[in-house]
């Protein structure tokens, strides 16, 4: 396989003096979806923010072989990184059209693609983003990243808190673009992970504890239970509601890698 689009090694990050990412290393291949998994609070979102320079970080981050860990956030993004943040972070006071216009970096933004994927947004162009439903806001957030010809997308919990029907739509949209651009995806819903992901990276206590193929990982019920504290997606647990995985379920929480949560 060719050179990875994103290579992270020895990444550390702090928030308010507290170590939230510790010596994290992983790669995102130049095609397909890499899922970044782990229980709540293990540093998935912080890892993504550290890659983007949204929080203070040290370490080696390479985008298509070039180091970007010294660059400010906007420079990294300008090099072709699309970001869909946790909790969507649309500009509530701006209209849908303004939200999208703000995100347009390329000379020829791909408006048709966005309009095809999210026809809802076309009708709501003049509506303030703050008045949209959660699902519609997520589409605005996704659309902002898809407007530009990015080399990689960082997508953080796109289905969090959404109704099952909307979860499906969001997953479909991601599946549709995954053919054209590699994605690093943080996702709690294992159905969605199975549907989209080709590879997985599992974090625990701010460190990487597992990397490998997505299907093999999800098929290994014990491993999933041990690392994520939930049963695999065959067991109908909470996954279909898109709710976050429950906190450590104590009983099998004994692997050595887990010490520092």
């Amino acid at each position: 396989m060719s050179e990875p689009i994103l290579a992270v090694s020895g990444l550390h990050a702090r928030i308010a003096g507290q170590q939230v990412v510790e010596d994290v290393s992983f790669t995102v291949p130049s095609s397909g979806v890499t899922a970044l998994l782990g229980r709540n609070g293990v540093g998935k979102t912080s890892t993504i923010k550290a890659v983007l320079g949204l929080i203070d970080r040290t370490g080696d981050v390479r985008l298509a072989g070039d180091r970007v860990d010294r660059l400010p956030t906007h420079r990294i993004v300008q090099r072709g990184v699309g970001y869909v943040p946790e909790d969507r972070e649309v500009f509530a006071g701006l209209t849908v059209a303004e939200n999208l216009r703000l995100a347009e970096r390329d000379a020829e933004p791909r408006r048709e693609l966005v309009e095809r994927l999210f026809p809802d947004l076309v009708q709501r162009k003049a509506q303030r983003a703050g008045t949209l439903s959660g699902g519609q806001q997520q589409m605005v957030s996704l659309a902002r990243a898809l407007l530009n010809d990015n080399r990689v997308l960082l997508v953080d919990e796109p289905t969090k808190g959404l109704a099952p029907k909307i979860v499906g739509e969001v997953a479909e949209a991601l599946e549709a673009v995954a053919d054209t651009v590699p994605i690093l995806l943080v996702e709690q819903n294992l159905h969605v992970v199975r549907q989209l992901a080709t590879d997985v990276v599992v974090l625990s206590g701010g460190r990487v504890v597992h990397t490998g193929g997505a299907a093999e990982f999800l098929d290994d019920d014990d491993l999933v239970h041990r690392l994520l504290g939930v049963h695999g997606d065959h067991a109908e647990s909470d996954a279909s509601e898109g709710a976050p995985a429950p906190e450590a379920s104590a009983t099998t929480d004994t692997t050595t890698e887990e010490g520092r949560a």
Binding site: L52, L54, P72, T73, H74, V77, Q78, Y83, P85, E89, F91, A92, G93, L94, E98, R101, L102, A103, R105, R144, N148
Partner: protein, 292 residues
Amino acid sequence: MSTVILLLVTGLGLGALYFLVASGLSLIYGLMHVLNFAHGVFLTIGAFLGWEVGRRVSDGTWGGLLLSMLVGVVVGAIVAALTEYLLIRRLYERHIEQVLVTVGLALAGVALMEGIWGTDPIYTAKPAWLTETTEILGARIPNDRFLLIGIAVLVLLGIVLFLRGTRYGLIIRAGVENRHMVTALGIDVRRSFTLVFAIGGAAAGLGGVLASVYYGYVSAHLGSSLLIFAFIVTVIGGLGSLAGAAIASVLVAVLQQFANFYLGGTGDLAVVLALAAVLLIRPSGLMGKAAA
């Protein structure tokens, strides 16, 4: 009735001055979380240099006044932009230090202007029409009030058009809401910091020239006295909200005029009490977002 109208229009005129200072303060705070104590200096330097140039070309005429206003705008914008570029930017994200630097600049700036132009007010000449009054419903309104109100409305419209109609305006509005997300869309938000300072400084510099028309003099302390009320206006209106600043400017100034007239000169106290009341009932101000 005529008294009420006089108080109302005078309040609007004073409110216009407050707005010219508060609009910049509010935008700067909204985007950068910097409480800019140096804003009074932008106003005063604009007033002094505007007066110096205006009187040399044609003192006491409309041409002279227009030139003064132009100089005030340009000087205010340049001084403010330099402040951001040379001082504030170097302390990126360190808000307390940024505030401290503006405090130092305010102290040094006022002292320097005292050194240059002296401590006493310097009385200024203005076009004859501005010294006359116009009768509205029995009230004799000094004409300079209309000038102040008219220009403040134009500035408000100008800023609104800029914010709504240009890409930089869009970036500023988005940045006030969530600066980090703006950078995460690949936009260098720092460039708009300088711009916001320049816009605020331009409005303040213009306000300085108009304040010298309103009060009839220029002095090194013109800015500091207006600044405290502009702070109050900004907080009552909601930090970061331009509309809030406009509404609060008018409310505060009118309240001040009425309390001064009907409650035995207690205008300043009334304003202070209004601030305390607003903050305790609605900590984020009239039009503000979540509490700061």
